[in-house]
């Protein structure tokens, strides 16, 4: 337990450094939120007045100190673009991104691990070659392009799936966790479940495709590597069934590498969500980040990037836990 606390405390200076860096970069970067907010009619006097009202005319270090001193009291300020407290905005959007990330991870794992393991066990077979070719295509497709193609075919041409959003208009959902799929299951709301699944399918596939491709290749090479180990030969020699050899000795040991890659790739999944959410107008924090950066909404951007940093940290922590669970020899 005290190791966990030590890890959590260790994150504080890192997050502080990140927050300062973002603050500095955002303010040094060219671009002005006030001229964007006021539009075409604003005079320089109007711009100066609003800058003063928003405190943007103060020196950067003073602004950062204001931000920090408020942040420790839990007040992260208001968004310039939306006029609402930034924490409220993030709270509204975070569950959507988490749901999308989990769905993409689910898509990636359910496709990639079985295909990867099977390709390794039957390597150089037709299935192996086909699997690896598809994986190569998957990793090569930019996800914005894949998203638009899916929208074109499954939305525009076939009308099977909705082109944007998270749930169909008119369907009420009782929020428990904020993850609509879980909430609709918990409340037994089948209509909502169908609508949410239909809205989630294309974005999850778009986001999960590249990850699936990477994991397929990693699973295959990892299993191949393990298959050459002496303990696998020993397991076979002592007369274990092939099934037991594969599942208890090969796959379990290969999982360490796969989990590491999944953990590392979750970061890519988050950055991928920025593009995917924009293409599908999916109301998550990725979409919000694009809007806040375009509007130079300093406070909102700051908190969103910090969120991403925290997520990386948490995922890394989880991966470490998973290691010791998969392989008890590894101590957390």
């Amino acid at each position: 337990m005290h190791k966990l606390i030590r890890r959590l405390l260790g994150a504080v200076p890192v997050l502080l450094a990140i927050s300062f860096l973002i603050f500095l970069l955002m303010h040094i970067a060219p671009g002005d939120p006030v001229t964007l907010m006021l539009g075409d009619n604003a005079t320089p006097e109007d711009v100066a007045r609003l800058r003063g009202e928003l405190g943007l005319d103060k020196p950067i270090l003073v602004q950062y100190w204001d931000f920090l001193s408020r942040a420790v009291r839990g007040d992260f300020g208001r968004s310039l673009k939306f006029g609402e407290p930034v924490l409220k905005l993030v709270g509204e959007r975070l569950p959507a991104t988490l749901e999308l990330a989990f769905a993409s991870l689910f898509v990636a794992i359910t496709i990639a691990v079985p295909v990867g393991v099977y390709s390794a066990i039957r390597h150089n077979s037709l299935v192996d070659h086909a699997g690896m070719s598809v994986a190569l295509i998957g990793v090569s497709l930019p996800n914005f392009w894949l998203g638009i193609m899916l929208i074109y075919f499954f939305g525009g041409q076939l009308n099977w799936l909705p082109v944007a959003g998270r749930i169909e208009y008119g369907i009420e959902i009782k929020s428990i966790t904020g993850l609509y799929l879980i909430d609709s299951l918990l409340t037994g709301n089948f209509e909502a479940l169908v609508s949410v699944a239909k809205h989630l399918l294309m974005p999850a596939f778009t986001l999960g495709a590249a990850l699936a491709a990477i994991v397929t290749r990693i699973s295959r090479s990892s299993v191949l590597e393990v298959m050459r180990q002496d303990y696998v030969t020993t397991a076979r020699a002592k007369g274990l069934s092939e099934r037991a050899v594969i599942w208890r000795h090969i796959v379990r040991n290969a999982l360490i590498t796969i989990v590491t890659i999944l953990g590392l790739q979750l970061g890519a999944l988050l950055s991928g969500s920025v593009v995917t959410e924009t293409v599908f107008s999916f109301p998550g924090i990725g979409d919000l980040l694009i809007q806040s950066i375009s509007a130079r909404d300093y406070k909102l951007t700051q908190i969103l990037i910090l969120m991403f940093a925290v997520t990386y940290f948490v995922v890394n922590l989880l991966v470490d836990f998973l290691y010791s669970w998969i392989d008890p020899r590894i101590k957390f």
């Binding site: 509204e92 944007a164 299951l185 239909k198």
Partner: protein, 511 residues
Amino acid sequence: MKPKPLDLDRRKFLKFGALAGVGALAQGALPGSSWSASRERLTILSSVALDNLHPYAYSSGPQYGIWYNMTEPLVDVDFAKRGYFGVLAESWEFQGKKWIFKLRKNVRFHDGSPFTAADVIYSFNRVKNDKQSLQKENFRDLVEMQALDDHTIAFVTEAPNAVFLDRLENRFIISKNATEAQGGEPGEHKPVGTGPYRFVSWQREGNLVMTRHDNYWGKKAAVKEIVIRRVREDAARVAGLLAGQGDVINNVPVEELSRFDKHAKVKAETVEGQRMYFLAMNVTHKPFDNKLVRQAINYAVDPATIIKHIYEGNGYVMNGPMGSKVIGYDPKIKRYPVDVKKGKELLDKAGFPNGLEVKLYFSPDRYPKAKEVCQVIADQLAKIGVKVELVSQEFAVFWGKEWVNGGKSPFYYVGRPATDADTVYDQYYRSGVSPRIQYKNPEFDKLIDEEQRTGDAKKRIALLHQAGRILMEDVPFVPLYTLAEIYGTARNVAWSARPDEKILAGTMAIR
């Protein structure tokens, strides 16, 4: 009675989840339920949505359009006649520093309360003083408002202001009583206006739902319920319309138009837009301080070619500083003809016999096909010996105080919407107002001063024409074009689009 605990163990959860998942996918494999426009409900897929529910914390055309469905202004623009008509105002009179408005009687807000001068004063005070208002600059010279009776109101300005009607466009009136009664944060109040639609619900980045206001003072809307959904991606809006998931979409890219022509259920709706595109030349930078150089550039640029090849014909060449829908447009002004020889001669006369090199700044994320347009312009300018280097900037950078709004962009491609020529003349070309062009001409300033003070509409237009002719002689810009605003609609939707990016559902009919 004690609520029954959720009887769901892990096994049941997984079983139900798996079954439901398969069901959801199976249903997904069936043709989707399209909801084509009906008198019951119409869905608009819009590239823009409301950022919040604050009645004045926005300043963009499409957002004004969304609000206009629920809340109304005193006056609106008659684009065909290039003038104004009363919405919540019946008539008005300009008396020096005073504007007197007679308000429409028998108008009721959505909550049933009557519309009076007190609501106008409340609303405009919010516009002027609310911390979050982004429309304050429209009332910067409004010093007093007096309710002369329930349906007469006087606005007093610092100096006579003939263009006050322009400032009133998009200044929407909300109910004083209904808003104050809601308490809490001003940005979270449900809008209560007088418009043809009543507010029902809104989710940020989700749906805005409005229902017909059955006691509307004007013509009752044809469709009962309007749903506006934000769909940012152009391809997704088009796909949504083609699939029947939406009935009206905005900002259709020109290359998609041919698909609409062939489609049995959708059509395109186009109208000349209000945004005027031009090349701005900041006259404090060399070589744009030289009038001959500016004229030479005008002789070289041919917007008709750009419209034909880049916008597939969906544009309208501007003959002068204003587009044809703008109040103050002068049909007698003609643009500089394309004349390469003349352009070269002028450059020679200006002291650049071997041509010159300039940078052209543009923002590809703001204006459609800006990069392609600027490439063509560079090619056209090369013919008179002006070598152009293109500089692409993100809009937040382009428009910021480091560049255009700091007076640091010498030559740039920009688009500006306007209802009245005064707003552009005053802002871009009057001495000392904005650093965007920094043009100074006392004669021009005098005309604008006079135009802004005259109560005689005809005289004011004549003064704007005169000012326009001065600009065409000095040309601190190259007029280019206005573009078509392109919408897609289901074929059974009868609707005429407005030039100002507003989608007014109350003007739609279902065939």
